[in-house]
Amino acid sequence: AAGVIQSPRHLIKEKRETATLKCYPIPRHDTVYWYQQGPGQDPQFLISFYEKMQSDKGSIPDRFSAQQFSDYHSELNMSSLELGDSALYFCASSPTKGWGTEAFFGQGTRLTVV
């Protein structure tokens, strides 16, 4: 079965650079969530989209922006990267605007800022 695809899996950037993380949801899933997970920490909600519109916003820095495209994939754009942005970034997709047994997480993108 198709899963949530995230790319790239690993990314190394220097401070003040920009990064773009991509998330391809499971087919027919219209909701995407983005989470940031620092080392040894729980995932922190960043932002979500439902039917290509932002549906909820969490602790996402102003330096970050995201959108969901017409094919439902989503991109998280990160600018002026800081060392503290180093983390695992997960996206999850769901067939409805909510969670349940059909919502799945991707394998994540590990971002390292040096």
């Binding site: 920490q41 999850a92 997480f105």
Partner: protein, 114 residues
Amino acid sequence: GESVGLHLPTLSVQEGDNSIINCAYSNSASDYFIWYKQESGKGPQFIIDIRSNMDKRQGQRVTVLLNKTVKHLSLQIAATQPGDSAVYFCAENPPRNQGGKLIFGQGTELSVKP
């Protein structure tokens, strides 16, 4: 809420023993809860869920207990196996009128000794 520190609580058990992992959630209005398993470098994987109108739910080798009075969840794993070694997170889903995000609690690292 935000997690503090970089050290997860750890539970170490012997193979074949039962494991109990506890979690406190924050929002008394949350009506849906999920336990996730996260292996190193991977995304959270759904284990079992429970709705707020229930206080117990059983799956294969896992049981979730919900105590709404004290906002407490527990995950019981029967006959723990080495493959169960991972970090376990509980997550709460506030009502839809409070946004659709999933809020993760602090994880617990389960270590199973063969």
